[in-house]
Symmetry: C2
């Protein structure tokens, strides 16, 4: 809240930029779009951020930060390591349709493509990915400590599992006809339970609709 209060215009524009990138893609995002959405003039956008590239890179960073903040927020509410892992998987596979995470997967595709050439974006991606890995690592460590998970090299698991989730994120983001959110979630959880040695079965019979998971309260 403090950040938003101190620099309302700034975050407003970053939020607008995030949405525009999600809609039109990183290279297709125009400062006019961002300005329109934020209800200001294009010149003001340049006034705040020096250049378009800078704006978009910062928008990417902010978006990633928000994603992990949301993840931490949710994880904090869940007592078991297996539950926390499941929540991470659910977020990555977009099982629950969630406004906060709207467009985050699509953004990742642009993030990766852009990271190839743009050093600033590359830095964002590297931090973000290491953050992701560390999150998984920590969950595994906790699970091993509490006896939920049986011994496994947490580092190798984190490397492999984040790669797996990234791969599923691609399929889900692109709306692959074979690998939808439910299947990705299912397979990912099965792999995890097998590798980490904990019991897991699907919450319910497979649902057709893309509705939210009623298991967890939404408020």
């Amino acid at each position: 809240m403090s950040v938003a209060d101190e620099e309302p215009r700034r975050v407003q524009m970053l939020e607008a930029a995030r949405q525009v990138i999600a809609e039109r893609g990183f290279p297709g995002a125009r400062i006019t779009d961002v300005a329109d959405r934020a209800g200001v003039s294009p010149a003001l956008v340049i006034y705040y951020f020096k250049s378009k590239d800078n704006l978009l890179a910062e928008a990417m960073r902010q978006s990633e930060d928000l994603w992990y903040a949301e993840m931490s927020r949710r994880a904090a509410k869940i007592p078991t390591a297996a539950g926390r892992l499941e929540e991470v998987v659910a977020m990555t596979c977009h099982v629950s349709s969630d406004v906060v995470l709207e467009g985050s997967l699509e953004l990742w595709l642009d993030l990766w493509a852009q990271a190839l050439r743009d050093p600033e974006v590359r830095a964002v991606r590297e931090e973000s990915d290491e953050h992701f890995r560390e999150t998984i690592r920590q969950i595994v460590r906790d699970g091993v400590a509490t006896g939920e998970f049986s011994g496994i090299d947490e580092d190798d698991f984190a490397v492999a599992y984040t790669a797996l989730l990234d791969g599923f994120a691609i399929q889900v983001a692109l709306g692959d006809p074979v690998v939808g959110p439910e299947r990705a979630f299912d397979v990912a959880m099965r792999v995890a339970s097998q590798q980490l040695g904990f019991a897991w079965e699907p919450r319910r019979a497979p649902r057709r609709s893309s509705g939210r998971l009623p298991t967890r309260a939404t408020s």
Copy 2:
């Protein structure tokens, strides 16, 4: 060869386009670049392909086709299913530095990002991904048939394993400081051997250099 003989200019431009996309990214690729590299005028490029979008989409398709052709070519030479799987993993993780596959991983990142909005590119991606899955599926089926692999749901495995390899492809393409080609290859093979129940150990002590694998002849 027949194709190249019939339409030399066409394939020449497609090849040029592939290189330009690999260098400057899909959105950054200019028809002038392609024309320059092919040694023709920009107008001729439009003369052959109706528009820039069409050109780039076809270049993507051709690139994917080449990749799978190369994969089949290599796989055909390898007698065991485990060996074939290893070769696929090696190609995906860019363990062997190979001219034919130059820039293919980087191209995938652009392919995914572009597939989000461009229907033509999306179609290419879907075909390509299903092709990949089917390749893995078939290798597993063969391995199970010959007794190399122990029983496993080949479909679920294919879905999960292609996702894993896609994820590693991202890391490798972006030159992640933590997950390099060797580590990706190593972890991927360990996962495969464990899941499919075959014996596998690293060919050699871990190498620092990014040199090619001397195990297989390059000719």
